[in-house]
Symmetry: C2
Subunit: 761 residues, 2 copies
């Protein structure tokens, strides 16, 4: 395997446009809104968004008027649906089963109350207004620290407390560590509710066949097999009767990594015996789906004069909103990544996922890193300053290195290019020179630079389940088809995986076809989340392709009468090492597929489990200009230097890096879902919820560092999440560098910064 990797790569490592790009760009890709089935009904959900209470019991609900509206086929309330609890979290492990298709309570403003299926959308919407609901107010709580206190209003009656998870991770002796410290630093950090803002809203189309009991579900999901499992559990339909098809998807970012619309939509189809389509409105996506967890993080760090960390205590409180969803996963993940990024012998992490009467927070690109990273990397900046050290030097001294055990997980790092990222990034942005010139500025527009580091995992080993599977079929014209369950949400993973198959099979990318996203056509895969696709499915596709390749080689060996060890695949041919003897793949397949003795289909198969979570790393450097009169922050330039192991498709890696900078900048400066005191979301649309736009983007320099991961496919690790976590601390550290004001709450909006400047910090 290693031998081959040392040979020249022909497809991997070269930039390729997305294999589905032309289809997407031409408007011919079929998204869920494009799919229509004869007899299809349209569903709409009545939510509690206009209910005066964030927390209430449904005292009475009367759908009779709605049911009588011509064109309405069915109206369902909590009285009609199966009383089966489920968890919207991707994997069953540590899932909290606190959701129902519809419940007799509403737990936040925007919770589901009833649903209508009608012949068109207008009728369905009209019917919603005819549903008569009487609520009984229950006491509400919005602040997670309040919600954790004994005596706080109980949001889920079956739970003792409003705590969905409590995670503790510690090593060494924290008390001893603090005793050994020369200095102790403490800080409280706070982050906002960020919305995923995928361009495509969540949607589902369910088609139940009342004769056979089969159901087909088209969905925008990142996790088709989990949709299958949850629909099976909630509706009591056998898994073998359910087929889930992931359609072309307009972005996920973790927001489609939970089971949100499918159980309700499938239930409506079962009840009506007709196809039912449910597409959420933008407002419903903002309020009713999922957000990033707003977090409060307390840090306490002991440090020696020379910059050695002696102790660290972290307390993280994550507001998960009204349902648990992925909160246990996010808190758990938080406890294993940033916590291990900087070497420290004595560490204690305590994390809490908390129920409140706010919209639900769950999986979101970065999965806990952006919050934790913001706290840790600005805290480190502060410590460096107090120690009189350059923050880059301070971090270079303390970051984890290749060969270290990641104390957060107990796993040894087989590859780590973080120091290289830091050094290359610093050089590119001109760190030393710009740092030193910052203090001499005058006037109202001041520049500064800052930086931050991250570590993220390429899969969820060893905490969740980790296994990916693929099949690779070889056709008799020498082309191949790879079948896998990984969902491409727009990030280009299908292209990456096709490239891996092409490389392993010695074929051109054009000769690889993919079948994906259809549970009837691919083997089980948990889904696309946790930065796992390139690493996990990449390994699975590579192993399946290798299995197919070995079958081709075995047959070619007989035909050519050459030892299989001497054969290799290149450019569609099986060649003999060191000789000019060859046969095309097509010829081998044709000769053996149709003959009885040599016969057989070539299907390569794999089921891959990893030996490691293969962390990937990166450092970002930001240069900002702050207007001290207005509080306006312009990000002038970001250098993103990321160690991705091996860039299978450099063009796609660059795209990920730029996208993460954009999302990280939004998190740093402007993005925030605002709630009023009653729990109502104030800015659930793109007019009022601000995102960075093209004109807001700084110049982004991407530096791809390739520190080969031995367990990765062609050395590759993950790429698409960690970077979103470092733009904010880099920007905030740069603001401090520019104007000497340390912001501990995100986003650093113009008014918040101006207030800090005016308040004299």
């Amino acid at each position: 395997m290693i031998k081959q990797e040392q040979e020249k790569l022909r497809v991997v490592g070269k930039s390729s446009p997305r294999i589905t790009g032309a289809l997407e760009a031409s408007g011919l890709a079929e998204y869920i809104t494009d799919i229509k089935i004869p007899g299809m009904l349209y569903a709409k959900i009545l939510t509690s968004i206009n209910c005066p209470y964030a927390h209430a019991r449904i005292k009475r609900i009367d759908a009779s008027k709605a049911e009588k509206l011509p064109g309405v086929v069915c109206v369902v309330t909590h009285k009609d649906v199966p009383r089966v609890a489920y968890s919207s979290k991707a994997l069953p492990a540590a899932g909290v089963y606190d959701e129902y298709i519809l419940d007799d309570k509403v737990r936040f403003k925007g919770d589901k109350v009833a649903a209508v299926a009608a012949v068109d959308e207008d009728t369905a919407e009209e019917a919603l207004e005819l549903i008569d609901v009487e609520y009984e107010e229950l006491p509400a709580v919005f602040d997670p620290e309040e919600a954790m206190k004994p005596g706080a209003p109980k949001i889920h009656e079956a739970k003792d407390q409003n705590i969905t998870i409590r995670v503790r991770n510690e090593w060494g002796d924290i008390e001893k560590g603090f005793r050994e410290a020369d200095y102790i630093f403490e800080g409280r950090y706070e982050t906002s509710i960020q919305a995923h803002c995928a361009m495509e809203p969540h949607g589902c189309l369910a088609n139940y066949n009342k004769i056979t009991g089969d159901i087909t579900i088209w969905s925008t999901t990142q996790i088709p097999f989990q949709v299958l499992r949850v629909v099976s559990e909630v509706l009591g339909i056998k898994m073998s009767k359910i087929r889930v098809i992931k359609t072309f998807t307009g972005g996920g970012f973790g927001g489609k990594d939970e089971i949100l619309v499918e159980p309700l939509c499938a239930f409506l189809s079962v009840k009506t015996g007709r196809p039912v389509k449910l597409i959420l409105t933008r407002k419903e996506v903002f309020v009713g789906t999922r957000t990033r967890h707003p977090a409060v993080i307390y840090l306490k760090t002991g440090v020696k004069k020379d910059g050695t960390l002696t102790a660290r205590y972290v307390k993280a409180i994550l507001n998960g909103g009204a349902y648990a969803g992925a909160t246990p996963g996010v808190v758990g993940a938080m406890s294993t990544r940033e916590i291990g990024l900087y070497r420290c012998e004595n560490v204690k992490f305590e994390g809490f996922g908390v129920y409140t009467n706010t919209p639900v927070a769950a999986a979101f690109r970065g999965y806990g890193n952006p919050q934790h990273n913001f706290a840790v990397d600005t805290h480190m900046d502060e410590i460096a300053e107090k120690l009189g050290m350059d923050p880059l030097e301070f971090k270079l001294k303390n970051t984890i290195r290749e060969g270290d055990i990641n104390r957060g997980t107990g796993i040894k790092l087989e590859s780590c290019g973080l120091q290289e990222c830091m050094r290359k990034g610093a050089e590119r942005i001109g760190w030393a020179k710009k740092r030193s010139s910052a203090s001499n500025q005058k006037g109202t527009r001041r520049r500064g630079i800052g930086m931050a580091c991250f570590m993220h995992n390429s899969n969820v080993y060893p905490y969740g389940s980790e296994c990916s599977s693929a099949l690779v079929k070889v056709n008799d014209d020498g082309t191949a088809t790879a079948h896998f369950g990984a969902a491409d949400m727009g990030q280009g993973s299908s292209t990456t995986l096709a490239k891996i198959a092409a490389e392993e099979l010695g074929m051109s990318l054009e000769n690889i076809n993919i079948v994906t996203g259809d549970t009837a056509s691919v083997p089980y895969d948990p889904g696309s989340y946790g930065s796992r696709t390139t690493f996990m499915m990449g390994n699975a596709v590579r192993e399946a392709a290798r299995d197919a390749k070995m079958q081709i080689i075995a047959r070619a060996s007989k035909i050519l009468n050459v030892d299989p060890g001497k054969l290799f695949l290149e450019n569609g041919e099986i060649k003999v090492r060191g000789k000019d003897k060859r046969i095309s793949i097509s010829e081998v397949v044709k000769r053996t597929l149709y003959s009885t003795k040599e016969g057989g289909v070539i299907v390569g198969k794999s089921s891959y489990s990893p030996p490691s979570n293969a962390p990937y790393f990166g450092a970002q450097f930001a240069e900002v200009e702050v207007d001290t009169e207005t509080g306006q922050v312009d990000v002038l330039r970001v250098v993103a230097a990321h160690d991705v192991g091996k860039a299978i498709n450099p063009m796609a890696v660059e795209g990920q890096l730029e996208g993460m900078v954009s999302m990280g900048m939004g998190f740093a400066l402007i993005e925030e879902m605002l709630l009023d005191k009653s729990g109502s979301t104030l800015n659930a649309d793109f007019l009022d919820y601000k995102l960075p736009r093209a004109r807001d983007m700084p110049a982004v320099d991407t530096i791809i560092v390739e520190r080969r991961e031995p367990s990765g496919p062609f050395g590759a690790k993950g790429v698409g999440e960690g970077g979103v976590a470092v733009t904010a601390p880099a920007v905030v550290n740069a603001i401090y560098n520019a104007i000497g004001i340390r912001m501990k709450k995100l986003p650093v909006t113009q008014d918040r910064l101006l207030k800090a400047i005016k308040g004299g910090n």
Copy 2:
């Protein structure tokens, strides 16, 4: 394996309704006519059915008027299509590449001339009338014996002769054999053009995506992977870009075992960039698709006084019509089956497939057997009479037996229940008593009984390619999904295969889901023909299920800490032999699918090649009443005793037996496509082409003989073809028994028989 088979079977051997039955019966099954895609065009073919010449060159063709008709999107003639020849035959081996999407010649009345794609069917039909064609007459030949002669008009210029295939199969010394004979018998036998008469006409829907170059083809085909291959070859599209989906199919009988409509339909979709649907009319199905080969068979048999056969010479001439299609296969198959049925030391077979200017004959249930069997089994009846022997006794003395080498193929019979079929059938119909009473009849309504035997193969080994593949996935609720390419055309093979998977996995039939007929979702399989599905795909599905089972057992062994050899699957559980220890399949999958260490998807895989063609056998007995004044024959009763190895689904086997009797009766008495002297088909519709209907059916007694085939899945062999070959000779022998008139030409229509009676014969 054998050990397990000796255990109690729970699913196999019990009758089950078709798993798709409710869907089909309710009208909710989606046939090709039901599928509509936005923007879809409708195609129609201009044929030469109204051309005055059966054989002509297209001198001039002008589509300009048709192209201008509003609603017409495209008109194509031979000038527009790729000049790539293909064979419509299922497998590439021995294929004659003599067909084009459209050619500049017409070779029979009904040949393709041009095609139109338009916005609706009416417009497309109207456009056909606007295509202006000028033909140049070429000399035509309709009689195969004439067509074989030197100097006959050449139908395909590239061929030396009008002979598509010449097959010779011989053993022993035929001259010596005839010298040793006490008597020599000779006869000439002739059969008609029988039409398949599947209720659903042939159809195709092709959807080419001009952006990606992918094409999806829905088809009524029996051979999805061959459609994929031929479309790839003819249109130059990579196999990985083509997906073929077999829709629910309303009967095939071999008529959908050739590539007929797909290349043209796919080409129209490529040309227009839009989805195009082409459904043939009933008339086009009769004239323009395929028929059974009308055959002339010469037999010469040497026999000793004691009934020992000493020599046999067979000369078979099959009229294949204007294109070769499966003719080489049919003539080849003929040379290996009936020729081996009766023991004879000196045999010579010569078979000819011949081009004429008539509609094309090709694959049809029985595949050469019905013609050959009619000749041989009425010839044997004649010999018995001349020898003064009872024909049953004569045949019992001479039929091949278990352990014999089938001289036709050189393969040893591992199982043969033919003698049992003959004895049980004779007993059931009361052979001895009824034979003896036939000669004492008076009056104009006379009764008689006759019988005939057959041998048919369960696959095409060793002549064609033989290999079938399947995948079996196990879901975490303990259900399973079997993926296989075998096409269910209505015969119920999907149910049979699901039962095999259920039995092997110790699951109930309800817990098995199937994915089939979609080349994107199943591994390669050549298709459904040659009685191969139960045997070949049954073995493949069983092996894939066993592979999955072994994975389940390995995991259960670790969990239960019990040696894997002691474990077996039953009722959804893994049980320990002799102990009350168990765990459910669901539990094992759940525990191991989601955990890292034990992890992995359970996908069982197989690629099965057979050791034998595993012939299956049967004998049919017919009792008839002949009205000597009118020539009317009433078939009163048929006893069909068939050795199927093991009836996986007895209900389906009985259905096959009854269906074959019906088709065989039609072949015996009424079915015949009639051509006039110019080559025009006279009865290309259900008003004029007569089929047996329910009221024509005799009482059918089915006797299932189960002589276990060691290489068959649970002992099963094929079932669905051989029986269609024996009803005709049984009926014709019964007519002779009733009135002493021996008919040598099929069908024995009322007027033909009356003429024979009047002629005094």
